[in-house]
Symmetry: D2
Subunit: 388 residues, 4 copies
């Protein structure tokens, strides 16, 4: 029933953005386990990202994190990317790792700290101008740990003020993507804890402000695909930070914890037109590979997104709509599950071969010898990590 | 530091709305345990509500539920209330107990069912005209149980259409209060599952549409007082459905499961001006007394709201603001906890005596003999319950 | 790598037990939606169960619920089952629907109520003697709604006393299966809330007492397959009550909410030998079909268990163990996911054809015309429901 | 009704154990905010702990963490403690911060890593011999991040083997306290995730093995006081790691997030005899003070435990039991709430004055000038933190 060539075309043109920080070391508060061969600077991160794109064909964009990816010459960094068939994606701000930010950044009670944080956000837009990035991704660790610690609505006022100042600074073709997160590192209130808060701010700011859905940042039991559908309906879905979790902000590989949920999310994306390039929905990974090899983990994650997308594209929408219209609960569910239960790996292998790639990206990566090469080459210097 | 006479004035003028259905039988899906003396019609429910008001002095409003409280002559019902010092409060619609509503009401795929549901909502506004009620409270059991069962955004379109039709019908001084609920009775999607969805609809509808926060209807870990503060900041908090819970929609007595949370909620209400009559925030109970005696449980619940309010009023706001401004985490928390740790029962006993009431409402109710009287009198007929 | 004939043999010999109550009406506390053609007595429930077995070939056992399935002549009921190729399975006790049980059954503060509850449990063993059932399944709604309501350890003492009395009454070849449940209908404490409590009681009772894992009865985030593995390791897994859920005790079709979780559970069962008939692990459904057609929902559920089992049987255990031994996180995960991502529907169609059945049970059931026949025939009388 | 002198005696003799690591820096995976004046070695941690004991009178015991508190001469460390009126408490093992432990410690697939971990545990017992500590507290970060990563039951076998080896090494009067934790840093399985698992191991090991309840380490909705009551009933409650949380392992000050829960826990402790010194229940703090001043936070935490204990001691047990016996739900709840709603701060001020202490420990600490002194004195060297 489904038009297979359209499915293949959609899969071929999908673009998945990988985050520079996922190539570096990460860990939990208990321990960061260093891995041999990890990049030592933003250039080496791009080298690794190029490997992921080379074997998957759908990961040409790399998100930056400032200051972790600060360089003297952003044009040179962009050229380094372009030489490897990559482009620089969203610029992610970081207003949580200076000592000044202990009690917040743009929501801090002290105006001097707020000013410093705002300056950093504006600097990020400068960097976007230099790199040609379209998206500014904002996540704020701001919040409080104890009841009474600060004024909930006062902090919202400060947040609104900072967002407004940044919004005014955005150029043509630039967007602000506002991420929400239930908790961590704040444990009582978080200043942008849910999609409602992010949506309310973005609505007031205007069309260049949109919401980012990080699939790991919700309360237990939250129906994430519902939120995705709502934001698409309102024209406010800016993109995803993909990862997966069993408990809290586990940051595991996307699709690892609940592949059916990922499929349901992609089903809402596909059904509501979110896969079309012009809607601007960014499909970004935001993961930490604490114990698994980093590049292969990212290859696997890209594949997991592809598989969920392929299944979502296979849903027989007319049959689904017909069953829904007649209230046939079991049949409607069966139509959806039929797509989910399909093994799409052969289909994706074919898509890759059509793109001139090896059918199995994991094997293709292993065959390159890159893993061994970086272990041998990248000695000395300081490994990149969350703070580097 | 706090102005005690202002505190007492606020406590004296507080109005807590009790729900007619809490006087009748209720239960879980496993069993409804009937209690002797339970009302058999709306008039007897008002008689019981009058007892609650008589001993607490702050519960003069009674919410109705249609069709459970359908009567031939609403003017007569309003007069029955007035004779007892009561007034009729929010009219609660019910579009979930007819067989037609198996797959939804205003979001149902079948337009005939949607029309029937809408007609009921419009009838509720007619009843408001007759009773003089100001508020239409809308809760929809609409949703789906299985992925694929129906179209998420299609259902939102149908919802928006129905809400708009009802909104148009509202008269001067009438409001629509839209309640959200995470889940139950729907188990996959709920059409109004969170405050963001309710807010988005109310914003589009206009100033007469506001959000109701039912304290039991959130995912685990949700910071409810944050939502309360957000809605007050946006001018969209219509009121509360108070109850408490340890797990899901337990519908226990407000303040029974987490009295500190109730205090934090009331702190946000007080701090953000929500206690003032003119803001229109309605303080309603929405509880089920499955195993405990109904009238005393409601008296206790009213007292629990009063105690949380009293503690919130005792917060030393200038001291709190000073500690917040200087980033003194422990001191700010201590200022808040100092109010919470205060035993406000003597203060409330004094407030009651100033109002000419007995200091202990529970003892006062016991002394009336009403409990024994209704057991003796209310024999025959059919007891009121969730379906009656 | 996997021995396909062994896989097929395992799938052919699997036995899934369906619950008599799932053929009758059910609902939430808000509404029970009646369906046409629903059975009116235990005999008609068996007739429906026979349809499920006829098209799946692996559902020959039907669990009873007393008093809902009380009949004058249990031998006649067993014969009715045998005539249809069925046998009677676990006897489920019910000590939660009498008015006496408002505050508990075997844990009730009043010894007279405890005695009544114990007598019912002993009657259930009498019925087992009459039906030839091997398993007594015990679930207690016992618990409290409010802190302080009753004494936590006192209730454990009463529970232990009742369980001991029932254990003593068990005959040769009879078992007691103790189910745990986090909450509902009790909202503060539940007397058997978790596997630890059930395990502690069963350990003390002896080898005939084992734990039942209801897949819907856990706190958010609980790793159910871990519990399954632990209980198998301790020799204390008596069986499953299968269903699925997104939130609380949704009682949806098994595999509908999280098919990957069901696969992980079956993987632990297979890996730890739990599929072997002699371990005695019972694979029971315990579901409510509130809005979907009941018999097809049960057919689908049986198929979902089969598919998860098939995938679990396809896991390449030697390859998995090798990757685990060397600490290859991604490869070990990949081995498991390879089995999960396989489309096992063709394999199962083949298994069915080998058994002389149609490859598609859903289509086969539709073709029987049974759905139409029961609607036409079962008029008059009272439909079976949770209370009937 | 309650015997106030007995209450005071119990409060006077209470002993709360503070953890050495709570005096040092800590943070989240995003950032550790350093504080001026933080200790630079175990001796300075004891100096700070002495300040806490000096103003509260009930915190004479300090738990150690090895290797964070490794010194050349443990007798000298014990003498340093004794000079300050302190004694050394539980020795906490650490088998999660070496690179070898990336995939686990005693459950690691590699026997060499397991051996190394076991050697560390045995070294901890050696240290107990040297310090005179009675308790070995074991927490294992062991677990897996991805389904399939390792064998669940195989890991249990390895765990059992290591625990058994340590148990054999324990001397007279020494105990092993086994802590469980739902998740973090492992995100799929944790090898000791719940009380059931810890209990099963301790039961098999023998009477010297007991379970530690960390109040922050449970799934949402878990009734912790129920677990406490169960473990006391089984004689297996070794002690508490107190802290509080709104979401996951927040490690906030005990009583800060849900003071009513802390009261309910202490009510079960008091009611079931757990406050008596001879039961051996250890009342330990295990907190991180990421943004608040460390010593005052610990003083406040000790006070919070005292206040919850005082309220629990005030519960009118005969009145409670009478209401429970007659099934008076509201009255039983009211008896409990009456104690909770009491302001016990004056009572505790009196207890302190009877002990020769200032009535307000927070003010007393401020008056010492210790905070300013350590900021001035502790310059140079490396601050203590989670890794130091």
């Amino acid at each position: 029933m489904t038009d297979l060539s359209a499915v293949k075309a959609a899969l071929t043109s999908q673009r998945i953005e990988t985050p520079s920080w996922a190539y570096g070391n990460s860990g939990t508060r208990f321990k960061v386990f260093a891995q041999p061969g990890v990049p030592r600077d933003p250039y080496e991160k791009l080298d690794d990202a190029a490997q992921v794109h080379a074997v998957t064909g759908v990961a040409p964009v790399v998100a930056l994190h400032i200051p972790w990816d600060r360089v003297d010459d952003y044009a040179a960094l962009a050229a380094h990317a372009a030489d490897r068939g990559l482009e620089l994606g969203a610029v992610n701000s970081n207003v949580f790792q200076d000592d000044d930010y202990k009690l917040g950044s743009v929501c801090h009670p002290d105006p001097a700290v707020r000013r410093k944080a705002l300056d950093h956000l504006l600097e990020c837009v400068d960097i976007m101008d230099a790199t040609g990035s379209h998206d500014l991704k904002l996540w704020f660790a701001d919040g409080t740990n104890y009841p009474g610690q600060d004024d909930v609505t006062g902090r919202q006022d400060r947040l609104a003020e900072a967002l407004s100042a940044v919004y005014e600074r955005l150029g043509d073709g630039q967007r602000m993507l506002l991420e929400y997160k239930l908790f961590e590192p704040s444990f009582y209130t978080t200043d942008v804890p849910d999609w409602g808060t992010a949506y309310a701010h973005c609505l007031r700011l205007g069309p260049k402000a949109q919401v980012v859905v990080d699939t790991g940042h919700h309360a237990p039991g939250t129906n994430i695909e519902f939120i995705v559908a709502m934001l698409l309906r309102e024209g406010k879905l800016g993109g995803f930070d993909f990862n997966s979790r069993f408990y809290a902000d586990d940051d595991l590989m996307v699709g690892a914890a609940d592949p059916f949920q990922l499929f349901r999310i992609m089903h809402e994306v596909v059904k509501n037109g979110g896969l079309a390039r012009e809607t601007g929905v960014a499909f970004m990974l935001d993961q930490c590979h604490n114990i698994e090899a980093k590049i292969p983990a990212i290859v696997r994650s890209v594949m997991n997104v592809q598989e969920a997308t392929a299944k979502a594209l296979l849903v027989d929408i007319p049959a689904l709509a017909a069953a829904q219209r007649t209230g046939d609960v079991l049949e409607a569910n069966a139509v959806l599950m039929d797509a989910y239960n399909t093994d799409v790996r052969p289909l994706l292998a074919g898509v890759r071969e059509d793109m001139g790639l090896a059918p199995d990206p994991m094997a293709a990566y292993r065959a390159t010898g890159w893993a061994e090469r970086i272990v041998a080459d990248r000695v000395g210097g300081e490994q990149a990590g969350w703070g580097a």
